[in-house]
């Protein structure tokens, strides 16, 4: 019986994590449906994202290989300091965009009488994995800078793109985009492919 305690604790922890993340994904002061109707959430979807070329350069290894050859250590420190700030800003943007997407999803889901539980579960699972992955990327960046992280960032971006696609399929187009012809940006921002 005592052997089951760690699993129970882990399950409880995961449950708490899901509840906390879902609460964070829901605006506390306003009804999401109201926000949606006001067009605020719709506008939030069109967040500015990092251009692909920038993501490739930021998380690629070319610049680091060059800076590693430079003599004084202060140059390497300056490089890491500058790039770390930018890379963390990418992580912040990606997480914020994903959260905005989930908020819109929640708002639309509440109005939808034909919810598909499997799709909803998949959205939540993708969102959780994406947030955990972003946290992992941020930790690695803190520890050693955004050096040669193209593969990890690319994986996060694939995941965010999947999240975006699942959401797009679940949204009725007229609710999601209103009268706008623009397409919302995927949360992973730069659509990184540089690995």
């Amino acid at each position: 019986m005592t052997g089951a305690w760690p699993f129970l604790a882990l399950g409880l922890l995961l449950l708490v994590l899901v509840i906390v993340l879902l609460q964070r994904a829901t605006p506390s002061e306003h009804d999401p449906a109201e926000l949606f109707e006001e067009g605020e959430t719709q506008a939030a979807l069109y967040a500015e994202s990092f251009p692909q070329r920038l993501v490739d350069r930021l998380f690629g290894s070319e610049d680091w290989e060059f800076i590693a050859k430079q003599e004084p250590a202060r140059l390497k420190r300056l490089f890491l300091q500058q790039r770390t700030a930018l890379a963390l800003s990418w992580v912040r943007d990606a997480r914020t965009n994903a959260t905005k997407l989930i908020r819109v999803h929640s708002a639309v889901a509440r109005k939808n009488s034909r919810l598909e539980p499997l799709v909803e579960l998949r959205v939540i699972a993708d969102y959780l994995v994406f947030q955990i992955l972003c946290q992992l990327i941020a930790s690695v960046i803190w520890l050693r800078g955004p050096v040669a992280m193209g593969r990890l960032v690319g994986y996060a971006d694939d995941l965010s793109e999947r999240l975006y696609k699942v959401n797009s399929r679940a949204f009725p187009a007229e609710l999601a985009y209103g009268h706008s012809n623009r397409q919302p940006a995927p949360p992973g921002a730069g659509r990184a492919r540089g690995r």
Binding site: L75, F79, Q82, L86
Partner: protein
């Protein structure tokens, strides 16, 4: 007052700008500074007498803005090593003592004025960070050669 111009006018003005002006400027960094200098800092409008004479003033301004953004983005997202080499060559071409130019650039950050309006904010941050790093490297290189 809005002036009408066609996309063909802008394309022709771009071509003219490339062949007559930009092609003669060897350094990408110098091209950026040149294009930024064709912009009125108070209004943000671009002027070029020669281009405006051949094409319309509006087409010339659009061509200059397009070229400015293109050169900026290419330079901002180029490999750091290229940017360092560009910056070093540009600083040497200014005609003043390199150390004096580097100090002024570090303190006044005049390269901020070279950023075109409407550029992606993340690319701007990346460019500014890269120029800071590049200046430190060029400074070290110049000190080593003295």
């Amino acid at each position: 007052m809005s002036v009408r111009f066609s996309g063909t006018d802008v394309e022709a003005a771009r071509e003219d700008l490339n062949t007559r002006s930009l092609a003669k400027i060897g350094l990408e960094f110098a091209r950026l500074i040149y294009l930024a200098s064709t912009r009125d800092y108070n209004t943000g409008r671009y002027y070029h007498d020669g281009l405006a004479l051949h094409f319309s003033e509006a087409a010339a301004a659009q061509a200059l803005w397009d070229a400015h953004r293109e050169v900026f983005t290419d330079l901002a997202l180029s490999p750091l090593e290229d940017l360092v080499n560009q910056l070093q060559a540009y600083i040497r071409s200014v005609g003043a003592e390199s150390s004096e130019v580097i100090r002024a650039w570090e303190k006044l950050e005049p390269y901020r004025i070279a950023i075109p309006i409407g550029s992606d904010p993340h690319t701007i941050s990346f460019f500014l960070a890269n120029v800071k790093i590049a200046l430190a490297i060029v400074d070290f290189r110049e000190q080593a050669t003295r």
